[in-house]
């Protein structure tokens, strides 16, 4: 086994792990937004895991990128880490990966600088994470044949399903959210329903 092949295996492995981690991060992000709880976990753990797992994901993503470029066979230039569709090898699929890196980098950097940025800017960039996920998945399926068969295909399908389910949960729940301006009438209705004294009459 040449060094090239070792790097190539490492890149594929770290790529799969990055995808899994990013999926979990997305699910946790949705949990934070909906004030969801996981049994046994305090609320700050949900936010904490969302943040810490994202940093872990970035680490594996970094390894995935470095090993892919270090591998001699594919000849992916360093430029391709930031500029999409500049790789000679598998230009389109790698290009998508670059797009995903750019999006994730924007989300991570703005989140690290969250205290210093305008909240509206941070929020706008954070929405890009919903774009980065499908881009990552398509890149993952197209850039190497690994995920197109066998247990990796099943794993990818399950992961994608989990994220889609989480997104579905967020969307349906938010449709039942009381719009801010209707909150007062809703509270009055709620308090009326809580009124236990009516039965005293």
């Amino acid at each position: 086994m040449t060094t090239g092949t070792a790097f190539w295996y490492a890149s594929r492995a770290t790529g799969v792990i990055s995808l899994m981690l990013l999926s979990v991060v997305m699910i946790f992000g949705i949990l934070v937004n909906r004030q969801g709880r996981l049994p046994g976990l305090p609320r700050f753990a949900i936010t904490g895991l969302h943040r810490n797992l994202s940093l872990l994901a970035v680490t594996f993503l970094g390894l995935h990128i470095v090993t892919a470029i270090a591998d001699g066979y594919a000849h992916i230039p360093w430029l391709s880490t930031i500029v999409p569709f500049t790789s000679g090898y598998e230009r389109f699929w790698i290009g998508l990966g670059t797009v995903a890196i750019d999006l994730v980098a924007a989300v991570i950097i703005t989140s690290l600088l969250r205290d210093r940025l305008k909240a509206s800017l941070w929020r706008a960039v954070h929405w890009l994470s919903y774009l980065s996920f499908p881009v990552t998945v398509v890149h993952a399926i197209g850039a190497s044949k690994d995920l197109q068969s066998g247990w990796l295909l099943k794993l990818t399908a399950a992961t994608v399903l989990a994220v889609v389910a989480a997104i579905g949960y967020r969307v349906t729940e938010s449709m039942t959210d009381v719009p801010r301006a209707d909150r007062v009438p809703e509270q009055f209705d709620r308090v009326d329903q809580e009124d236990t004294t009516r039965s005293l009459r």
Binding site: R43, F44, G48, R51, A119
Partner: protein, 67 residues
């Protein structure tokens, strides 16, 4: 310079992390919204206070200088 915690009640949606992280300074009312202590943040708790501020999902919590 002493500091104290301050919450923006319009941004706050009652996630409640802050009360878990720094119960010495923040407790939750019966509706899940934070009740802040009148006392400034003691130096020993400063790190926890900063974490609560950073972790707040709606950026409603702030650490401000004690006037």
């Amino acid at each position: 310079m002493t500091e104290r915690l301050r919450v923006n009640p319009i941004l706050c949606t009652g996630h409640g992390l802050c009360a878990e992280l720094i119960p010495e300074q923040i407790s939750l009312d019966e509706w899940g919204y934070p009740i802040l202590s009148n006392e400034p943040v003691p130096p020993a708790l400063r790190k926890l206070a900063r974490r609560a501020v950073t972790d707040c999902p709606t950026l409603a919590l702030a650490l401000v200088p004690d006037p």
